[in-house]
Amino acid sequence: QVSELVQFLLVKDQKKIPIKRIDMQKNVIGPGPACSEIINRAGRTLQEVFGLQLVEIDHKRHTYILINNLPRAEGEYLYRGKEKEKMGLLLIILSFIFMKGNSVKDGALWEFLNLLHVYPGKQHRVFGDVRKLVTEEFTRLKYLEITPIPLTDPPEFKYQWGPRAENETSKRDVLNFVAKIQGKDPTFWASQYSEASA
């Protein structure tokens, strides 16, 4: 049963949408006390055999994601389709959010992206409907969390890191990226540096 669950998780993870415990129970394990033990054992198998970590990102709703626990290899990264470019855009967005204090308003984010010739209303040569990519796909995959700001008219939203971003990368990594791009030492931004090192 553990190996069935491992198979199930690996296939479900293809879409990168968080996996719910209820789905695991419906399709593979029955409900009941054995459930957590089976999930734990599946997690150990995933770690030992594949080097993947099963992380519960929502303790109330019991949803899980898989992340890569192997040390980063120097080689080529083989991703399908436009994955790499999307990760590029995502990295830039996450960097902007962190450097600006972990939360930004949608207006501020799009104003910044415009500087990179990325416009919410305009079809992008690489990304297509960028607004959809950012507000729908990135949030569905839990890379970003978008919440409405109360009492704003017209409604405004704030953008923060989602739980997948918290697990797959780190403030330190992102600060290093910014430092690399700007040709400065990460300590140049003292407060961000100390937050990233905490």
């Binding site: 293809q14 055999v49 993947l52 990760m87 855009l89 990295l91 500087l115 990179l116 990304f127």
Partner: protein, 261 residues
């Protein structure tokens, strides 16, 4: 309008706007204008509040405009070069591979689990890792995946199975066609499976050919130079079972990316 510009801690635009509003108010004599003035005050005070928030914010000043410019440079738009090259696109446009450059850099910062696909095995989705420990993990993972597979056959999508079969059939047909044209020359095995442009595709070919061998539809022999060659087996009746049992040999061929090059 221009909220970001006003919020920029270095700008005095908010103060200037307030001063201008004050001056204008002196000229006001109608209620409607007073109402507009009141509206302006509300917006201005909201902005003022945000600015105050930014002052209290723990973050060191981050110049996003400079960041954006540096990103554009990183992605390949270099302002100083533009005037020299008449073929270059006018400023303000990114070269078509700009985001690809970004795409090469970005994955280094994420620990994303590679997506799992039966057909591709591990060569397409995982980066080539030289460590011994991890090589063993990959072989073990393939073994475990196959053992668990029969249990899951009902649940897994059939499309994966079908595509593999179609691919195997296609490869068999290619082999047979070649043989019809030239019955006495078996093809060099390596010529047959290696795709000079894609290591991943080569691995796929090996995978599909292994099915043909397993089912006895093709066979591999060593030629005079001791190099492997592959040829289809002639279709035979039921009485061939002894030869099938006798001729099976297990050969492990290891081919990594360096050798392939």
């Amino acid at each position: 309008e221009n909220r970001e510009a006003m919020l920029n801690s270095k700008s005095n635009r908010l103060t200037e706007a307030l001063e201008e509003a004050n001056k204008l108010f002196d000229g006001v004599c109608r209620a409607r204008e007073a109402a507009l003035d009141a509206q302006f005050l509300v917006i201005a005070s909201n902005i003022g509040k945000e600015k105050a928030n930014e002052l209290h914010s723990e973050m060191s000043a981050f110049d996003s405009t400079a960041f954006a410019e540096d990103l554009l440079t990183f992605m390949g738009i270099n302002r100083t070069e533009e005037s020299d090259d008449p073929e270059d696109v006018p400023s303000g446009f990114l070269r078509s591979d700009a985001w690809q450059t970004m795409g090469e850099e970005a994955p280094k910062y994420f620990r994303r689990a590679p997506t799992f696909h039966y057909m591709m095995g591990s060569s397409k989705s995982e980066p080539p890792v030289p460590k011994q420990r991890i090589e063993r993990q990959r072989k073990a993972s393939r073994g475990k995946a196959e053992r668990a597979m029969p249990a899951q056959l009902k649940k897994m999508e059939e499309s994966h199975q079908e595509t593999t079969e179609k691919e195997v059939e296609r490869i068999l047909r290619i082999l047979q066609t070649h043989f019809e044209n030239d019955p006495n020359t078996p093809i060099s095995f390596f010529d047959f499976v290696i795709d000079p442009n894609s290591f991943a595709h080569t691995a796929e070919n090996l995978f599909h050919v292994s099915f043909l061998l397993r089912d006895g539809l093709a066979k591999i022999k060593l030629d005079e130079d001791k190099l492997p060659v592959i040829e289809p087996t002639k279709p035979s009746g039921r009485g061939e079972e002894d030869s099938r049992a006798g001729e099976r040999n297990q050969v492990v061929i290891s081919l990594d990316e360096r050798e392939w090059k």
